[in-house]
């Protein structure tokens, strides 16, 4: 029988990013990237890879090329002016005039 070890079974895998929610009320966080022929198969692999590591609540997979991603060191993500006045810590709660 022929050896197939260099062939992918479908010849067309793509990358899926895997996001896992570990606790109720917490966000899904990025966990890993896997190769699969489609989303259903990606989810099967992701479930198995993640469940042996812990006790996840929910797992999402998304094709990497379906997500728009910012570039590394995108200057738009770096504030150009001092924005500390926007932080709630800049304001005191209560105790003001008239109270």
């Amino acid at each position: 029988m022929e050896d197939t070890r260099d062939d992918s079974p479908t010849g067309g895998e793509e990358r899926f990013d895997v996001f896992v929610q570990w606790q109720r009320g917490k966000p899904h966080e990025y966990a890993e990237t896997i190769l699969a022929p489609d989303a259903e198969m990606a989810l099967l692999h992701a479930k198995r890879n993640i469940d042996v590591r812990g006790d996840p609540l929910s797992i999402w997979v998304a094709p990497q090329n379906a997500m728009a991603k910012s570039a590394a060191n995108d200057p738009a993500l770096r504030p150009s002016t001092d924005r500390s006045y926007r932080q709630p810590a800049g304001y005191s709660a209560g105790g003001g005039e008239g109270e």
Partner: protein, 262 residues
């Protein structure tokens, strides 16, 4: 009821059955691991196969432990120390794997049989066996899903379709011994409540399910043909201790490993 409360004269038959299904799982795990570990078509498939192989080894342990506790033997004695002529595994699991389609087709046939047997043990009256069957059944869902997903996807290309097609008949014929237990053993299993159904009805459920699944693929084999291969006279019949040379080879490898053990 407990295993020890069953009549002494049925214990040997029950042990023979437990060793048969333990040998099935042990050899399936061994074959998957030795064929695909670091050789899988993708890293993801590599880990999937290794994971399934480890599950099967774990299931083998569940049954070897029960027998080892009844005899003065260890799990390792039972798993590695028994010569081929005393093994009762189906010959389906001892043959070396060919390509990935061969592995997927064999896995589908094997896991379908395992599910039917485990479900019958789960429905049985022997608590120690039913609870162990439930543990194994819980892991089997993933094994079936994995095989089913590949059966749906491999025929998407002509090459994949052809490889699936050529894997069906040899695997279906090799699996014909899966339910060909010694008739006395089979009778004991039902009479003592080890299985919640008789072996013939389990064979029918399995052959019907898997022949529909494989025969529904775009391959040149109808469900009726596939069913006739699954229900053909087993040759050889692993359940009667008849095996292929492949089992001798696996045994030599294990014994060389044992000899090197400190």
């Amino acid at each position: 009821m407990t295993l020890d409360s069953l009549p002494a004269e049925s214990q040997e038959d029950i042990q023979a059955f437990l060793l048969a299904i333990a040998d099935d799982d042990f050899l399936m795990g061994d074959r998957l691991m030795t064929r695909w570990l670091s050789q899988g078509p993708t890293l993801e498939e590599d880990t999937a196969m290794a994971s399934i192989a480890q599950d099967e080894m774990g299931h083998a342990r569940l049954w070897y432990e029960v027998v080892a506790a009844q005899r003065d033997e260890t799990v390792d004695d039972l798993a590695f120390g028994r010569p081929p002529a005393t093994r009762r595994n189906t010959v389906l699991v001892e043959r070396p794997f060919g390509d990935y389609a061969d592995t997927v087709v064999r896995s589908a046939i094997y896991h379908a049989a395992e599910r039917v047997l485990l479900a019958a043990m789960s429905d049985g009256d022997v608590e120690a066996l039913a609870s162990r069957a439930d543990v194994a059944l819980n892991e089997e869902t993933y094994h079936r899903e994995h095989a089913a997903m590949w059966l749906d996807r491999l025929p998407a290309s002509e090459e994949g379709r052809r490889r699936v097609e050529r894997a069906i008949e040899p695997n279906a014929r090799a699996a014909a011994d899966t339910f060909a237990f010694d008739s006395e053993v089979a009778a004991t299993l039902t009479a003592q409540g080890v299985l919640g159904a008789d072996v013939d009805s389990l064979r029918e459920a399995w052959a019907g399910r898997i022949s529909d699944q494989l025969g529904g693929l775009p391959v040149d084999a109808t469900p009726e043909e596939i069913r006739s291969w699954l229900e053909s006279e087993p040759d050889p019949n692993g359940r009667a201790g008849e095996h292929t040379d492949a089992l001798d080879e696996i045994t030599r490898t294990h014994q060389a490993g044992l000899a090197g053990r400190p």
